[in-house]
Subunit: 509 residues, 2 copies
Amino acid sequence: MMESIGKQAMLELAITLPPRGSGAVMRVLHRELRSAILDGRLKPGLRLPSTRILADSWGVSRNTVMGAYDLLLSEGYLFARHGAGTYVAEALPIRADRVAVPDEPNKEPDRRLSEFWQSPPRYLLKPWASTAPSNMLFRLGVPDTASFPYHIWRRLLARSLRSLAKQPAAYVEAEGRPALREAIANHVSFARAVACNSDDVVVTAGTQQAFDLLAKILVTPGKTTVAIEDPGYAPVRGAFLAVGAKIAPVPVDADGVIVDRIPADTKIICVTPSHQFPVGVAMSMRRRAELLEFARANDAVIIEDDYDGEFRFGTTPRDALQTLDRAGSVFYVGTFSKSLFPGIRLGFVVCPPWAKRTLCAAKQVTDWHQPVLEQDALAAFISEGHMARHVRKMRKLYAERRELMMTGLQTHFGAWLDPVPAAGGMHLTAFGREPLDFDAIARSARQRNMDVRSLRALSASGECQPGLVLGYGATSPDGITEGLLQLRRLFPATGPTKYARGGARSLVA
Amino acid sequence: MMESIGKQAMLELAITLPPRGSGAVMRVLHRELRSAILDGRLKPGLRLPSTRILADSWGVSRNTVMGAYDLLLSEGYLFARHGAGTYVAEALPIRADRVAVPDEPNKEPDRRLSEFWQSPPRYLLKPWASTAPSNMLFRLGVPDTASFPYHIWRRLLARSLRSLAKQPAAYVEAEGRPALREAIANHVSFARAVACNSDDVVVTAGTQQAFDLLAKILVTPGKTTVAIEDPGYAPVRGAFLAVGAKIAPVPVDADGVIVDRIPADTKIICVTPSHQFPVGVAMSMRRRAELLEFARANDAVIIEDDYDGEFRFGTTPRDALQTLDRAGSVFYVGTFSKSLFPGIRLGFVVCPPWAKRTLCAAKQVTDWHQPVLEQDALAAFISEGHMARHVRKMRKLYAERRELMMTGLQTHFGAWLDPVPAAGGMHLTAFGREPLDFDAIARSARQRNMDVRSLRALSASGECQPGLVLGYGATSPDGITEGLLQLRRLFPATGPTKYARGGARSLVA
């Protein structure tokens, strides 16, 4: 009943294969055979030559041909008869045509979306990742990973995998693997004097998920007011907006967020006390005390985002809000995107005991738990000292880059820019002097492959002092020198006739 | 000014070290030295012996001692003077005392939580992961990973890591890596005849995050009604409850969800058409047509959860709802937790074009993107045919186990249980005959290390027919035989005098 196709006929299919030894051969072979079946060159019911014969004919390994056959078998293009060879399937899977409903930005929003997502803030729809191609100078918020010990990471991943392979399949604890929570608790207890033990730690998919989960458990849609630093980090605003919170932007000065400007009905206050994003100031001790008192008196909570706390230079850091707090008001949020690499997607919340069970439940219902392998590898990376070693190395490197940035900005931009001396991190902010248009300068810089941001673009109210924000974490010393030179060309050759008001003290207009 | 401590004095610290060669030595050494500093045995300002001398004295490698020193340096317990040795720090980090606010289940909920999380459904607070210890028989929802090709996975991870190490640090696309979306689109196009291309795919942290993201973009809190199968999968109910949706449990019969019972104002319908969870029936073609028509006529959407679609046996599966749909109403959700392993936390949504941009934005604001390494490894695992091969192997294995289960249940439990013949998956449901108390039987079974569920416990309304649900994915053939024997002892020795009503047709009370 069934027809066979011979070796010669198969060879006439004119399949061109890439060089032997690459995994690509199998993929091409699979694609070509599939096309041949779909366009009828290989007819339903046809018996195919054996993998051995084809491998010889095409000069590829037999495993390669078997791989392609296996894939086609599983996809329903071929079927096998035990001991009787491989055949083209009689009834082929049919791809239905797509209903063409193009997603036009200016189209009326689809009524099937939630009210919020029918008209969300524009920056939520814009992809964050592509805003700074990886070859740009002064990229904001990304570390240098060129000297990350990837070989150690590979070894630790392989070890975790060996251990995983020995255990029965299982979903694990929503709050994170015990060894990782222990390692994180030790890390922040000592590196940041954050008072906690492993029971207080919940592992998250980076800082962004920490915000999302906290928004989930703390915000009653349409009711809860959240205070956000202005200028500040837009994604945290996004996380709270998306769950229906009311947002109150609160201005920042040289002492950090201005506590007197926080609306009285605020229930959540998001701050970056050790290194205000983007301005770079550290919150003064007086402000810290005021903020904690506000939270205590108003039954509010504080979300302390310590996004680059590891990278402070020289000076002893001020105590974390979490350390100073006596009312269980503070959620301390940290990330490994800066100290390791962004692709790892691991961060954590140090959580007051009253909220721990709820935060775990929110994590569980959101995505159950973080991937096991990377959690286990990270636990070993920290507890075996690799993390501490890497951070110490990077701290030196970032300190040098910061020095280069400060000197460069002071030397060549002194007439126009007033850099904020920050004690750490991977970016610098410089206040700008009027009448220059710093939005326009930032736009021109981006056209010249520099990820320079206008300070005002990072403000929700648009009311902060003008200036520029420049990352240096992922820009080499040569890149910094070259970049500042290029940037200088976007400024007038001579300085302004008289200095406009300046300095961090008068940051808010 | 500075005092030194000699080798002998250090040895008197009585540090006991584990056997050489394990990473544990360094950790113990670190802990012991830290304790010695904290309890004053090593005094502030003391100069420590060189790492070489200590390594010799303790009979450990010099790297081990250096690792411990590095860690203590980074934690602030030691400080180094260039070329002048290592000293105990003068000012030690101080751990503040915890504010004791124990998390008592019966305590008044904290007012700082959102209204929903002040009294959430109990099953959201209960940890899902620990409900079935990994040595239990008949565990529900977990695959057998004993024959997963971990060596291939390790190789692909290492390859992805090498490639990552060559690139500058970057956050990547919220919707998932292009190669992975391409691989997933091919996989579902052919394996499940789901009509899509890579642009329609959004990568998620497993099925649970798919539900969470869809809940986010589709539910207006307090307004949107969501229909959920009853009995059904509780975590999907949880995801929608947590964002403020109104839940409508809809009964299931032998044809799948009863479309006539879906409330008219329903905007989202969550179904498991290829293998209803937990009952195991496949939705009939007539029901599929009715359901699609309901969605079209009511401007509603359907979430099609194909949680174990890869593991069907023998019969050709019915077309997915996504394939049959002509109104762009269907979100098709898949996972790799069953086909690979649960710890991987990767799943996906095939999304109608009108919702794609919004779904990406929701993913971005929720946790930005999935970890890069595992995405890249999975792309290769699928496109190089390893996935298809593994699935085919497991399909055989699960088919054998299902056969063993069916035969065992029919032979030994025929008087009491009426197993639902399901064409695939990794679990079986058997309707039970009154007057037996199947809740009590399930409880007894769990005490005897069997993860047997009462069907009624998986029903939100509690109104479904009694019965038992047994997983066999992660239970060996011997385990199945032994387990069924043990389970039989929990049933009366002889059958009931006459048969109660039975069969899937009358599933709903």
